[in-house]
Amino acid sequence: MNRVTKPFLIQAGTVLLCMMIWEAIVESRLLFEGIVPSIFEIMKAAWLQISTGFIFPHLLVTMYEAFVGFALAACLGIAIGIALGVEPFLRRVFEPLILYFAATPKIILYPIFLMMLGAKFESKMAMAGVSAFFPIVINATVAAAGIDRIFIKVAKSVGASSFQTFTRVYLPSTLLPVFTGMRLGMGAAFVGAILGELKVSNAGLGFIIIQAFNHFRIPEMYASILLTFFLAASVNFAMTLMSARLRRFAY
């Protein structure tokens, strides 16, 4: 048994134990009857949602909302973050504001988005956008502030323009930490969009969760939540893989 496998066995054992306790509670019919379905029932419902193709249009809607919001947040967050990181005075003025707002619940802004952008996709995109913006801008600021000044001197010494300095020095040297911010932002964008859907919507993963909840279709509700978690984990995993590939270009 080496250092890696032992913790892994404990982790697997824990997950298994939790599932067994869950099943035991369901089978015993003593607690939570009718509101906690058996794991098999949940799996069956999840399989049904996939095999009938029922979930895919909703999945696409949520991904669309999350990606658009995320893309806007990334452009804005990276640009602002690098500006703040490069200019210490600006950073001292605005970073506290950003940190304060980062610690507020973004969903509270949702009714404003609903009124201004309507109850369709746009308001969820805005939710995804504000949710993703903060982790991205915070990471970009720290990354840009941490650039070794010598690299900028090198660029200047060979007569690079400021645009060239931005694309050839600032972007590559902040790539990894900014990408970490983007990974966190992507997760936040999904949560933001889905929370919006849970509140007011007529499509998306959040919509099918809350529909199942309202009509007391309990196994379906669990299944949709499970699939949503699976999606979030996959996106996170994919971005982690990407950042491992980027590591080659950074340090």
């Binding site: 070794d148 010598i150 690299f151 001197k153 090198v154 660029a155 200047k156 010494s157 060979v158 007569g159 690079a160 323009s161 060239q164 050839r168 020095v169 590559p172 040297s173 790539l175 080659r248 270009f249 950074a250 340090y251």
Partner: protein, 261 residues
């Protein structure tokens, strides 16, 4: 040769940081193909002076002339190798060396050719596609030197380029630097705090005082070229080293007290 117009002249340069005078009224002329070393105690303003000449730092007063023309900004005739490690970790050896050419829109083909030739000159064949993380300290310094040289600057400013290296590597790279200078015909202004290195490489050694940095003395090194590192064994070499140390000793003690405060 010394009678011709200098390729680089600095006149009455001073630099003040808030509360600190880093350089005080320094003037210096450097002629074409000359190798001039600047030596002085730590913190006396050597890096500051070099960055001012390169146009990377604003000066408080004074002027820099290149071939008789006053310059205020960065200049195509000047290349600089920095004291700190400065090659880009996200670029391979070849890409690092190509950097300056790329910024000037030189075609890919020409970039490759020039950089490959430079890689041969600094002896990094076989490491073209390695990233800095996979290179030794000496190799990285050679990449930095090649990156400056490939721009074909007439004047090369070098700020303790071998400062972080061990003694043997330092001597060998110094020898190679002289060979490269011979081959390309650069003018070199070289900062060091190593007296042996200064004598091994230079035509003239300029001794700077402790802060605020002023020129204390200029010593000519009359050892004929081409030189190899074997000059270290010459009697003349030892005498020059001794002479420079006597000039430096007092300043180093002063500098030491400044930092100890």
């Amino acid at each position: 040769m010394k009678d011709s117009a200098p390729i680089l002249e600095i006149r009455n340069i001073s630099k003040e940081y808030p509360g600190v005078t880093a350089i005080d009224n320094v003037s210096l002329k450097v002629h074409q193909h000359e190798f001039v070393s600047i030596i002085g105690p730590s913190g006396c303003g050597k890096s500051t002076l070099l960055e001012i000449i390169a146009g990377l730092l604003a000066k408080t007063s004074g002027e820099v002339f290149i071939k008789g023309h006053a310059v205020k900004n960065t200049h195509a005739s000047i290349g600089i190798v920095f004291q700190q490690e400065s090659i880009f970790p996200w670029r391979s050896t070849l890409e690092n060396i190509e950097f300056g050419l790329e910024m000037h829109g030189v075609s890919k083909q020409e970039r490759r050719n020039k950089s490959r030739r430079m890689i041969e000159i600094v002896g990094l064949q076989g490491f073209e596609d390695r990233y800095p993380g996979e290179l030794s300290g000496g190799m990285k310094q050679r990449v930095a030197i090649a990156r400056a040289l490939v721009m074909e600057p007439e004047i090369l400013l070098m700020d303790e380029p071998f400062g972080a290296l061990d003694e043997q590597t330092r001597i060998i790279l110094g020898e190679e630097l002289l060979r490269i200078q011979q081959e390309i015909g650069q003018t070199i202004l070289f900062v060091t705090h190593n007296i042996h290195e200064a004598v091994q490489l230079s035509d003239r050694v300029v001794v700077i005082t402790a802060r605020p940095g002023k020129i204390k003395a200029t010593i000519s090194v009359d050892i004929e070229r081409p030189r190899t590192s074997e000059v270290i064994a010459l009697e003349k070499f030892g005498k020059l080293v001794g002479k420079i140390w006597m000039l430096l000793r007092e300043e180093s003690l002063k500098g030491f007290k400044q930092t100890a405060l």
